[in-house]
Subunit: 239 residues, 2 copies
């Protein structure tokens, strides 16, 4: 509502780090704080590598427009290496992407036209489900449109692909906007490249709503059930 | 392992914002990034309010020692106001605090002596459970020792009270350390003050381990099942 471009803003903050010649390693996590709206027009991204260790590198990012900070972010890069591995979280059991109806993107918000969405559950008012629901779970198959191979920028944007949970609860538009978003990356660049432009399974739910804010916890998965990101956000709402 | 004081470091970063006369509103969230170890001795905290809106205020915090950044943080403050409220997440079903045995704090790490801990599940090697486990869940009743009333600083520190999940899985010490921690505050100052020094229910689990890192998702609750924080972290490990 304040600025419906959280996905591309987060990806832009990450890209500014990834494009910097001082960057060491792959992204491990990003936290993006949405301080104010961004208008169409030029903006400035300032990136500062504040500490580089043997295995991790810490960055502070600020995005400004007309001398006002619109966005802050912290990014951690690092080297992944082989260790014991296990996934405790289960992806939801869902039909194959091809078996789920393709949602028609709404007129508004326009960002939804950048994704092909197939809602398994909890599409909410923008996907033609104007009903109240007893919980806020949304699960969908999603990919970029036009198609492009997956990378850390794409999974960052996809981690913010969910409409505000409060709208899913009430089945209608409710003023809401992400205040802060955190993404933990579980897949390296090679895994993402191998995934190509296949569908991504995305699932999200709120944990607590109250006093004007709610949180959301979410995850992205490959078609084979490999976790790509786990991601969390705090969202402002008015209801 | 790098520096076993994530809890007090996070609380110190938040306190630097809360003590600042420019601060507007109560804390809504904090993300703390552990860039390097902190040694005993003086350190400098720099706080910068980068944007103040009508309902939210965004801060960047850096903690430095000997001219090296050891910690970065972003803090968001804001005003809470009455809205529709609901908790979708369920706290685990547990016995009352008095019915759970008080754990003897280990010799090391010393920070554990700052908390009274009563483990319902998943105490791990530091609580005398040197067994492998099929999942990483830890649930405990916890409070500060010596006792002090709850506030946003206390729930920030308590949000980092869990030993690394990989140790719970393997039932023994494994090199590990938090890389980044995020806390979403669901309770206002009045709710925390009313809670006083009663026990807090704390529960955590990992979602994915691999390539040297795992995530943890956790929550703190009052004895009445009211959510205090939901909190997430990414942790480095070697195994």
């Amino acid at each position: 509502m304040v600025g419906p471009f959280g996905d591309v803003t987060a990806a832009t903050a990450l890209r500014s780090v990834l494009d910097d010649p001082r960057r060491a390693g792959e992204p491990l996590s990003i936290t993006v704080n949405y301080a104010g709206p961004i208008a169409e027009g030029p903006f400035t991204v300032e990136v500062r590598p504040v500490r580089t260790n043997r295995s991790t590198q810490h960055w502070i990012v600020t995005l400004s427009q007309d001398d006002a900070v619109t966005t802050t972010a912290t990014v951690i890069c690092g080297s992944r290496r082989p260790t014991w591995s296990e996934t405790e979280l289960e992806p939801p059991a869902v039909p194959a992407p091809e078996a789920v109806a393709l949602a028609q993107p709404p007129e508004f918000p326009v960002w939804m036209r950048n994704y092909e969405m197939r809602f398994v559950e909890g599409g909410g008012p923008l996907a033609g489900e104007p009903e109240e629901r007893p919980h806020s779970v949304t699960t969908l198959w999603v990919r970029d449109t036009p198609a492009r191979p997956l990378d850390h920028l794409a999974v960052t944007a996809l981690s913010d692909v969910f409409i505000p949970r409060v709208m899913v609860r009430f089945g209608r538009l409710v003023p809401a906007g992400t205040v802060t978003l955190t993404v933990y990356f579980h897949a390296d660049a090679a895994t993402l490249a191998a995934h190509g432009d296949a569908h991504v399974l995305a699932t999200a739910r709120a944990q607590h709503f109250g006093a004007g804010f709610f949180d959301q916890t979410a995850g992205l998965w490959t078609t084979d059930g490999v976790p790509l990101t786990t991601t969390h956000q705090l969202v402002y709402f008015k209801h």
